[in-house]
């Protein structure tokens, strides 16, 4: 449980980190919370020759609301999002942050690190997909903003260039009378979800004007269940339409069998999670306060 030897570099600013990346070459890795990278290094599944530590960069961890929306610094740990009054206005963010692994991991792991890792089972990407969030990235040539839908490219592959890093996640507040929910099935707290579902409903006069349903951990990237969304859009949200959406989501899922569950079981979980997520999202769209917790085996 000791990593291979590596060179350690401490970045003093986000800009310096980007410069270091371009100087050190493609095998250098960024160290944020280290909740994926450090275990991989200790198991010697990864052996980067250079680590660029972002943890001493001042002012890179924050959650703040301004005219442009909710801004979350890339180095903000999950626990700080969980506890943030600014993020509390968007309950799905709390569902996600509060449900990531256990308290130790939430205290170390960061939203930027999680997105950059692009683990197919990561929690943030499905949630941010329902919110149409933007990811601000910085490289030696400057900044660019990538919509989250373009940010996740493949399993463990993001749109980041080799010398780019995430600096901020930008989330527009969803319109009033909309509600979202994120729910996962986990065998125990510290493990990745067997399946998860992030949903958002925009309601108007009892009719769903817009819906977003994104599934996690059941494909190489988050799966947007378009037919499930269509089953709800411009319809009343009833037990029947929710059922139809959940069934459509089951069909959209493309899970691999592993110790977290067989493929058929994960599909079954998708229907259960989408149904439960929609029920909560609907209540929240109506202005009800609903606490939501993941389902643990």
């Amino acid at each position: 449980m000791f990593p291979r030897a590596f060179h350690y570099h401490r970045a003093g600013s986000l800009k310096e980190a980007a410069t270091m990346l371009s100087q050190l070459g493609p095998e250098a890795k960024l160290l944020a919370g280290g909740q994926s990278l450090i275990p991989l290094m200790k198991l010697r599944f990864a052996g980067p020759p250079h680590l660029v530590d972002l943890n001493f960069i001042p002012g890179a961890a924050y959650v703040k609301q301004d005219a442009g929306g909710l801004r979350v610094g890339a180095l903000t740990c999950h626990a700080d999002i969980e506890d943030s009054p600014a993020a509390a206005a968007i309950p799905i963010l709390h569902d996600c942050a509060a449900g990531i692994a256990d308290v130790q991991i939430r205290n170390r792991g960061t939203i930027g690190g999680s997105l950059a890792e692009a683990d197919p089972s990561g929690d943030w990407a499905p949630v941010l997909l329902t919110l149409n969030a933007d990811v601000r990235c910085l490289g030696p040539k400057g900044e660019r903003t990538v919509p989250i839908s373009k940010f996740v490219v493949d399993a463990y592959t993001s749109a980041l260039g080799e010398d780019e890093l995430i600096i901020e996640v930008l989330i527009q507040a969803p319109p009033k009378s909309s509600g979202g929910a994120y729910i996962a099935f986990k065998r125990s707290a510290p493990v990745y979800a067997s399946a998860s579902a992030a949903v958002r409903l925009a309601m108007e006069d009892g009719v769903c004007r817009d819906a977003a349903i994104v599934l996690g951990a059941v494909g190489l990237t988050p799966v947007r269940a378009l037919e499930a969304e269509a089953a709800l859009r411009n319809n009343q949200v009833t037990a029947k339409t929710m059922e139809a959406a959940a069934e459509a989501a089951r069909a959209a899922a493309d899970p691999q069998p592993d110790m977290r569950g067989s493929a058929e079981y994960k599909r079954q979980l998708v229907t259960a999670l989408v149904k439960r997520g929609l029920e909560v999202a609907l209540k929240r769209a109506r202005g009800e306060k609903v606490e939501l917790s993941h389902i643990y085996a």
Partner: protein, 823 residues
């Protein structure tokens, strides 16, 4: 805190909620564990392990590793073979042809088996060098299924010529007659008890030093059965057993899994010798622990037939069992007989035939995992009880009352000659039903069914047999040189009057310091805090016997009997010496705490001598002793021997264990209609371990065993793919149970004192895996009217989902065949 004993006014500590003496140290993080020990010039060992489940080791190239600066030595499996003799095999015949070495020489037989070991100046360097060892493998077909292994298509140990380790038929009564006369026969095609383990907080850790100054081999380790380990190590390393000194300190859990770490102890010793006697430390990683330490036994029960009379009383069982012990037998094939300690479980049937086979497979070798070998059999019996009850439409509680051994039949001799010392199973059922609110839950269950909700209520009754008769090994191998059981202890008054107890156990959280102090405090009439208890094994303390260690639910009987015997001897000597110094008769004397501390005094007078005064005379003032008192040492060693006989090997008959603690659990669960997860709604654990010495220690063990069992039933399993890759070698995959997954457990107890122990106590702690039986039963109850038979001990949401999808398709896995009732 202490009660007044009515007979003589003395305070009694046994039975009180005495806080654990070890608690302060352990809760403050001040325990002494092996990884806390750092020795001068110590080196660190890392293993190179086979990625294949079954492969020839063609070549091991160590030169790159050896060339790395800081590497002291590399040891290969072939080298180990040339330096040592194979470990002892306990089994007969073909087992004796198995050559078990601690590292793979020419062939690796399970994924994670060590093929080389690297020793370096730091743990990181050792891991760096391990990556540089180049091993060429020639993969062979792997066999991971016991029934497949039995066909001998791919043989693990060519010398043995077969994968079958042991086979024997256990038959008692008149089975065929019982089937002829049965009112009904229930047939169950296949039941399967899955493989899981114990995941102790502290993995295996060893420091070995083969000291070239005195030629001795020193171990600081966390082996939980060291007297067994040295019996295996000495012939393997070709040295005298007295050359080995083993010390254990605090141990972070074993549950039996650390019994077989003697294989790694051997490698560390050879590595130390190769490095000129420098100490070598090995700290197992969690992945190594999951992959290659030891797992529990997996067992398949085939072609089971159960004969019942018209009242649903089981009269006979006929079944074939195949046990899977992984790649090497090691502690096996003892498990092939150990299950028969609880041959009929808690039931009265007298006729049974169990055809028992054990095979090797390309999986991690098994070790005596908590509930070892008995829990598989008890689960089998509980499955039979519930399946028969459902098939015959008898309520589960009623079925048990009709079949339980009755309290008035105790002590009860089982069909295979075991003597159940005491117990009251109907009473436990009564207590359990009351605690859970049985009638209320039955009502709620019926109501919920109307809404399509699947609620099940299940009972598991089980046994925790403790203090083995090692003579049962002779049922496996008539030439095995083991029988009986014994434990040692020493109690002394040290020079300034300190009371010091030494025991041959190596507790891993069982509170031996406290319970031993309670026993001695009562005898010497002092408080437990005045007693120092030296636990942790040390060959040099000379209080161990060949059976010493901490395993198999026995300390309350074997360990405390030894402590009690030694303390009695000491007390006798103290009274004799005090009678001389106080010029009184022994029967005029009493022990107690006076103004100056513990003293012996002449009853009703001021004449007394402090314990320190007695110790002074014997140790440093002996000229005042008359010659006839010279035999007094105030340093009393006592070996307790269990009253066992050698079993009848041919008939497989005899008493195999001294005490039988019992557990009755009741669970209410609901199958979630969306996720299919069996959710526990209510849970009761009733325990009977005879006279309780320290209630919080017993309760702690019951809660721990309950969590372990619930984890095993719903979450934890050691699973392999068809080519022998282990799929659960990390906690992310194995998912050991955590508090998030635990229900609240209601605890109840009854006490039926054992007539077989000096204090009425029974060994406990393993708990008979009651939750596994109970949750299978509750799930069966929830799903039976869907035509589902719970035929596996592991039932997570995924499995329940598949059971429900497949319900009603194919042949029903269990059937009742009514027969004409004979006149």
């Amino acid at each position: 805190m202490a009660d007044q004993d009515k007979s003589n006014g003395q305070k009694r500590w046994v039975g009180q909620r005495v806080p654990r003496k070890e608690e302060g140290r352990l809760l403050r993080g001040q325990g002494k564990f092996i990884d806390d020990i750092k020795l001068r010039e110590m080196l660190y060992l890392a293993f190179v392990r086979s990625p294949y489940a079954h492969a020839r080791v063609v070549n091991v190239n160590t030169s790159a590793a050896e060339a790395l600066p800081g590497v002291a030595a590399v040891l290969t499996g072939r080298e180990v073979e040339s330096l040592t003799s194979p470990f002892i095999e306990i089994g007969p015949d073909q087992c004796q042809k198995i050559a078990d070495y601690p590292m793979a020489g020419s062939k690796a037989r399970f994924q994670g088996e060590p093929v080389a070991a690297v020793v370096a100046e730091s743990p990181r360097l050792a891991e760096d060098a391990a990556e540089l060892v180049q091993v060429d493998y020639d993969p062979l077909p792997a066999v991971t299924d016991a029934e497949q292994a039995e066909k001998n298509e791919s043989i693990l140990h060519e010398n043995a010529g077969t994968n079958v380790v042991w086979r024997g038929v256990f038959e008692y009564g008149d089975v065929e007659k019982a089937f002829r006369e049965a009112a009904s026969v229930v047939e169950i095609d296949r039941l399967h008890f899955h493989r899981f383990s114990s995941t102790p907080l502290e993995p295996n850790v060893i420091i070995a030093q083969w000291d070239n100054k005195d030629g001795r081999l020193y171990y600081w380790c966390n082996n939980s059965f060291p007297s067994f380990a040295i019996q295996f190590l000495a012939p393997h390393l070709r040295i005298h057993i007295d050359q080995i000194r083993v010390q254990t300190f605090d141990i972070g859990g074993s549950f039996g899994i650390k019994i077989t770490n003697y294989t790694q102890m051997a490698v560390c010793a050879l590595a130390s010798r190769k490095c000129g006697g420098r100490p070598v430390k090995w700290v197992e990683t969690r992945t190594e622990h999951m992959l290659s330490s030891a797992h529990g036994n997996e067992r398949t029960f085939l072609n089971t037939r159960v004969a019942l009379d018209k009242n649903g009383v089981i009269t006979a069982i006929d079944s074939r069992h195949i046990d899977d012990c992984g790649a090497y037998p090691r502690y096996e094939p003892l498990g092939c007989v150990i299950w028969s300690q609880v041959f009929p479980g808690v039931y009265r049937f007298r006729n049974a035939k169990i055809d028992f086979t054990q095979v090797v497979t390309n999986k991690c070798p098994v070790g005596p995992n908590r509930g070892y070998s008995r829990m598989q059999h008890l689960w089998f019996l509980e499955r039979i009880c519930d399946i028969c009850a459902h098939e015959l439409k008898i309520p589960a509680d009623e079925m048990r009352l009709r079949n339980y051994i009755r309290p008035e039949e105790m002590p009860y001799t089982t069909p295979n000659g075991c003597v159940y010392d005491s117990g009251n199973y109907p009473k436990m059922l009564e207590v359990g039903k009351k605690l859970i609110g049985w009638d209320e839950w039955k009502r709620k269950q019926a109501e919920a069914r109307k809404d399509g909700r699947l609620i099940g209520i299940g009972i598991g009754t089980t046994l925790d047999s403790g203090t083995n008769n090692f003579g049962q090994s002779q049922i496996i191998n008539p030439y095995a040189p083991f029988s009986g059981n014994s434990q040692g202890a020493n109690v002394k008054l040290d020079i300034y009057g300190e009371i010091v107890v030494a025991v041959g156990s190596c507790p891993q959280g069982q509170g031996h310091e406290t319970t031993a102090a309670q026993i001695v405090a009562d005898l010497l009439n002092v408080t437990p805090d005045l007693i120092t208890v030296r636990t942790g094994f040390d060959t040099e303390r000379n209080v161990h016997t060949g059976f010493s260690g901490t395993y198999a639910s026995q300390f309350a009987v074997s360990g405390l009997s030894a402590v009690h015997g030694a303390a009695q001897k000491l007390k006798k000597e103290m009274l004799r010496l005090a009678a001389f110094t106080l010029n009184a008769k022994e029967d005029e004397l009493e022990l107690g705490i006076g103004a100056q501390g513990p003293e012996v005094r002449v009853r009703g007078t001021e004449r007394s001598i402090p314990y320190g005064g007695l110790a002074n005379i014997v140790n440093v003032n002996s000229a005042v002793m008359p010659e006839e008192l010279h035999e007094i040492t105030l340093n009393c060693r006592y070996i307790w021997r269990a009253p066992f006989k050698v079993p009848d090997k041919a008939k497989k008959y005899g008493n195999l264990t001294l005490t039988y603690a019992s557990q009755l659990h009741i669970a209410v669960l609901e199958v979630d209609r969306d996720t299919y997860v069996p959710r526990i709604l209510d849970y009761v654990a009733v325990d009977d371990c005879g006279t309780v010495i320290n209630p919080p220690i017993v309760e702690g063990q019951v809660y721990g065993a309950t969590a372990h069992g619930i984890g095993a039933a719903l979450m934890e399993g050691c699973f392999y793919d068809e080519v022998g890759n282990m799929l659960t070698s990390t906690f992310s995959d194995y998912t050991p149970i955590t508090s998030v997954n635990m229900p609240n457990v209601k605890f109840g107890d009854i006490q039926t004192p054992s007539p077989h122990s000096f204090n009425g106590a029974k060994g406990m702690g393993e708990g008979g895996a009651a939750p596994i039986h109970t949750l299978s039963a509750a799930l069966q109850d929830a799903l039976f009217d869907k035509g589902i038979i719970i035929d596996d001990s592991f039932n997570n949401g995924d499995r329940v989902y598949h059971l429900m999808q497949q319900a009603g398709k194919g042949k029903k896995p269990a059937r009742v065949k009514p027969r004409a009732v004979p006149a």
